[in-house]
């Protein structure tokens, strides 16, 4: 909402300057976005008279002017404007002046060989409008030499952000009312009176849609002349950012911007029969003033005559029946439209307008007559003509809300005690009525007020929100108690652990191109109906695609090694049509695991065991029982069939997958070279039971020294080493405390189809040291366990 200071001053009797007004508006909740003073940029432009104008010797379209600044030392200026002539009083930009329209600094320069000491300016060049057909012409008696800023006088323009709850402030008058309540002046009464009609309204006006249009007031004014509107009106509209069009259109805009009251003027000659507010009919369309054709739905309210729809009610008028310079008779429409209908219609048609913005927030239902009076008297004054009687079809909803209010609420809700008398004064100044028993009746222009808290807000915002004293929240005894949940602690721990392992945390989009999401999908996806682009369309079923794309971008930028991780949600389908958003952690390792080195030789690419190391380490941090996990297959078709695996707790619960990306997946993501990945499904990691105690299980290091023994088994080449290892560990749980594979050998000395797995076993004696017999017994158990898997102890 923009308006000039002079417009405000016409409605508010105030001595406050622009700065004070701006500060007060912001403190009232009418946030100032900017205060601009166009004249501030014009101090280097001066009023000057053209003494002589002669043809430029080198150019047909240029003239050489002698320009007088009133100091008796005329300046030579080259000018190309067609209206430049001797005697004209205009505006000269002197050297050093900055032209507002283009930021150019003027200087003394030769124009086609003739020296020019400045520039005679057009309206557009000074940023004062669109006019650019010639240079500015001022009255002949304009004082020469003074700056154009002084000549124009300062009239700063305020740009105020109006929150959606304040339709009353979508007109300068409402803003003036707020300022008056805050003590910044006195609100002037609206200067209008009913204009009696001199003839019966020649058109029938009615509403057949009392739900969408409860009230439709109209009158005809005949014999008008629709010329451009007078300068003062044009200036005010321009200050509000509106382009002047014609007197009739400008007057309706003026009443809308000045009083928050939209209205419409129809060219009576283009209407046919009764003008009716009604629901649109199936298949009807309206060619609106913006030149676009809108298909209307049967629940939308329109204004129509016998021949069809002329207006999308409360939103935009029709092209066909708008006023033009030939209009002589107009029908004025001042109506009340139900806000919810307007909002729904506007949203459905994706059509915004100044009128919609006001009607959907709720215009003052008691302002129809005043609005019509303002319009009528302005039209009669500016366009001439003769007004008909008013037809008032329907009844606007005038009922006023009232609420029981307790002035103590200012303190108990608003946090500041405000004297009862001050509260009463504020409310009265805003148009509320307050009874003896503090029943507060809301003015018709405040549809937003819906209860006592709203009244507190009115009191506090006018009294001054900054005066509310800070009050500490009550604090529980002692130091702060821990608040993080187990899942939150798990996430925090994982994040720190992953970064401690040399991984960089990334945050990637939750939405993906559909094909990338499908590549990693395991069920029905969530796809947006109105994505911002095809690249951000489908919710990710895995964190990997986003990280793979990030890895590609990094490699494209020349990164040699990329180790990214992300902790976030996968978006799956849940019960009852809701989403199931599962916490997960993914890792992508691309490029070099180790770069070439003086000690290590060639660079090493990431492999599946790098991924496995991350998977196990992070699962351990997540609290998973890592020793009990089984390495199994079926990671998915996205991965290398022979170099990817799942880590499972029991045969069904997949806690993680890891391994190398399938080359065709890598290709789909434009990734050259091997890529290792990990994905952890955190929701499947079993929760710890209960809030455990701090004390750990008792432990004393064994007094006796542990013994290590190596066992090499010949096993079928297809046997997973992990199976043999698990068998060995389980062979004698009392004595075997650790076992690890330290060699996997095939070839010389090992039969075809077999491999030799060497396992180092750690044995821990408990009560006495092992003797030969004890060690043999243990060995027998280990060998027996191995042989169950087809293993034979190598000699």
């Amino acid at each position: 909402m923009k308006f000039a200071l002079s417009w405000l001053q016409a409605l508010l009797d105030t001595k406050a300057d622009a700065r004070q007004i701006a500060e007060k508006l912001t403190s009232l909740g009418l946030e100032i976005e900017s205060v601009e003073d166009a004249s501030a940029a014009l101090t280097q432009f001066r009023v000057a008279r053209v003494l002589t104008a002669e043809k430029h010797p080198q150019a047909d379209k240029l003239q050489v002017l002698s320009v007088d600044l009133g100091d008796g030392a005329p300046l030579q200026v080259v000018c190309g404007a067609p209206n430049a002539r001797a005697g004209l009083v205009g505006v000269l930009g002197v050297p050093g002046a900055v032209v507002p329209a283009n930021g150019m600094t003027l200087k003394v320069a030769a124009v086609r060989g003739v020296e020019s000491n400045g520039m005679m300016c057009s309206t557009r060049e000074l940023g004062l409008g669109e006019e650019h057909d010639g240079i500015i012409e001022l009255p002949a008696d304009a004082p020469l030499g003074i700056s154009f800023a002084d000549y124009l006088g300062s009239d700063p323009v305020f740009d105020v952000a109006i929150t959606p709850n304040r339709p009353d402030c979508m007109g300068v008058h409402g803003i003036a009312r707020d300022l008056a309540a805050a003590g910044l002046g006195v609100l002037k009464p609206i200067d209008t009176a009913p204009v009696a009609g001199s003839f019966a309204c020649p058109v029938e006006v009615r509403t057949d849609d009392p739900e969408g249009c409860p009230a439709f007031y109209g009158r005809v004014i005949r014999g008008v002349k629709n010329d451009p509107s007078p300068q003062w009106l044009q200036d005010r509209l321009k200050s509000a950012g509106q382009r002047p069009i014609s007197a009739l259109v400008d007057i309706t805009n003026y009443v809308m911007l000045g009083y928050g009251r939209p209205a419409h003027a129809y060219d009576l000659a283009k209407l046919d029969g009764a003008v009716v507010a009604r629901k649109a009919r199936e298949g009807e369309t309206c060619l609106a003033l913006n030149g676009k054709e809108y298909a209307l739905a049967p629940w939308m309210t329109v204004i129509a005559d016998e021949s069809g729809v002329h207006d999308i009610a409360g939103i935009m008028g029709g092209e066909h029946s708008g006023c033009s310079e030939t209009t002589t008779d107009v029908l004025l429409e001042v109506a009340y439209f139900t806000p919810a209908n307007i909002a729904r219609t506007g949203q459905s048609l994706a059509l915004t307008s100044d009128a919609r913005g006001r009607f959907e927030r709720g215009v003052d239902p008691a302002f129809l007559d005043t609005g019509l009076d303002l319009l009528t008297s302005l039209i009669l004054e500016i366009c001439g003509g003769e007004a008909s009687e008013v037809i008032r079809a329907g009844q606007p909803p005038l009922a006023r809300k009232s609420f029981a209010y307790d002035p103590a609420l200012a303190g108990t809700l608003g946090g500041i005690d405000v004297a009862d008398s001050e509260q009463k004064r504020i409310l009265a100044a805003l148009g509320f009525e307050v009874s003896e028993d503090w029943t507060v009746t809301v003015p018709t222009w405040r549809p937003d007020i819906d209860g006592a808290p709203d009244i507190v807000e009115e009191v506090i915002r006018v009294h001054g929100l900054d005066a509310v004293p800070s009050t500490p929240l009550p604090r529980a005894d002692g130091v702060a108690k821990p608040t993080a949940t187990a899942a939150q602690m798990q996430e925090r721990r994982l994040r720190r652990a992953a970064s401690a392992r040399g991984l960089n945390e990334a945050i990637t989009w939750s939405f993906l191109p559909t094909n990338e999401a499908e590549h990693f999908a395991d069920g029905e996806l969530w796809t947006l109906a109105n994505p911002i682009s095809e690249d951000l369309k489908t919710m990710r079923p895995s964190l990997l695609p986003g990280l793979l794309s990030a890895a590609r971008r990094n490699l494209d930028r020349g990164a040699t090694s990329v180790r990214l991780f992300e902790i976030g949600r996968r978006y799956l389908r849940g019960e009852g049509g809701a989403s199931a958003e599962q916490p997960s952690l993914a890792v992508v390792l691309a490029g070099e695991a180790a770069s070439r080195g003086w000690a290590t030789g060639k660079a090493k690419a990431f492999d599946a065991f790098d991924a496995k190391a991350e998977a196990l380490a992070l699962l351990a941090e997540a609290g998973a029982p890592v020793e009990n996990l089984q390495v199994m297959g079926e990671a998915g078709a996205q991965f290398h069939p022979g170099q990817s695996a799942t880590l499972r707790l029991g045969p069904k619960t997949v806690l993680a997958l890891f391994g190398m990306l399938h080359p065709s997946t890598a290709k789909a993501f434009d990734l050259a070279g091997p890529v290792a990945v990990v994905e952890l499904f955190l929701e499947r990691v079993p929760a710890r039971k209960g809030p455990g105690s701090f004390a750990r299980q008792h432990y004393a290091p064994p007094a006796l020294q542990a013994v290590t023994r190596d066992y090499a088994f010949l096993v079928p080449a297809t046997l997973p080493a992990g199976d043999l290892l698990r068998a060995v560990r389980g062979a004698d749980k009392a004595n075997v405390v650790a076992a690890r594979v330290f060699d996997d050998f095939r070839g010389n000395g090992v039969p075809e189809g077999q491999k030799s797995l060497a396992i180092e076993v750690t044995l821990q004696p408990v009560e006495k040291s092992y003797d030969e017999a004890a060690l043999k017994a243990i060995t027998d158990k280990i060998v027996a366990a191995g042989s169950k898997l087809g293993g034979v102890l190598r000699a």
Binding site: S27, N341, A343, G451, P472, G576, A578, A599
Partner: protein
Amino acid sequence: MEQLETTLAAIAGADTIEAVEALRVAALGKQGWVSALLKSLGGMSPEERTSTGPRIHAAREAVTAALTERRSALENAALDARLAAETADLSLPAPAAPRGTVHPVSQVMDELAEIFADMGFAVATGPEIEDDWHNFTALNMPETHPARAMHDTFYFPDQDAQGRSMLLRTHTSPVQIRSMLSQGAPLRVIAPGRVYRSDSDATHTPMFHQIEGLVIDKGIHLGHLKWTLETFLKAFFERDDIVLRLRPSYFPFTEPSVEVDVGYTLVNGKRVVGGGGDVPGGGWMEVLGSGMVNRKVIEFGGLDPDEWQGFAFGTGVDRLAMLKYGMDDLRAFFDGDVRWLGHYGFGALDVPTLSGGVGVRA
């Protein structure tokens, strides 16, 4: 005993450990001359033994000491020679370990959790794929409310079993409703998380992070809100000169509603939070939306608004991170550029604590 002199001279002249060993055998071995002398002691008379014994023992000790000394001298020389051959160029690089980092958004969320935990706030969460009841209706934005249109909402074509339209939450505020419904009152929670708006330019991305705060209790008023926000911002920016400006505003889910500006000072052309907004070289910037929870929202949360009241606030986590740590392009947050992550990211051990300060200084 001239043999002693010869042996000692030989030991002194031995130049290998093997030669020393041979001399040891020749003197102290089973057949050695010292061993032979020691054995001869058995056949001597006591007088002879008294006079000769000490000399023999002295000879043994002299030989033993000479052998030990010579052996150790030779060993030291050998070690020195070996070590000299093992000299490494220690200006060569050691094996490199990659440096991992924590994303600034995560770091700031941890900082916020730490600060608010001290004020008794727990961290709450809710789904990002929400239904329009939780995202709008229960927050006092009925279907035709103009504020709905201002949210640039991403919708799914789906409806849930109750016929509610599914969408991407446009703010973290639905967590207010979910927290009230699941936990009742009194309540102090913050809810950080991803939110979505169909908006994209230098300062807006279609996905960003918000944090919501909610206090529901008895006797909570606007003064408590002001104190909480002041206390939070002072702790977050670790400055005591944080100045707030409260402006009346409008949010459908709060009444009264308050927009909060924080004062900043220009330092080398950059806005630094702290100092007064109205002093020369200073200004105000909007940091938080807040207000007293609307009675209707409390009702939608299943609580009695005559018994409970409270406040809520919300702000952008990415924005807080930018203000504190100096990034100026929001889009880089979601690009995953390892150079950016390395520069703006945090170390694994930069865990925010109250005793160590929640922030990490450059």
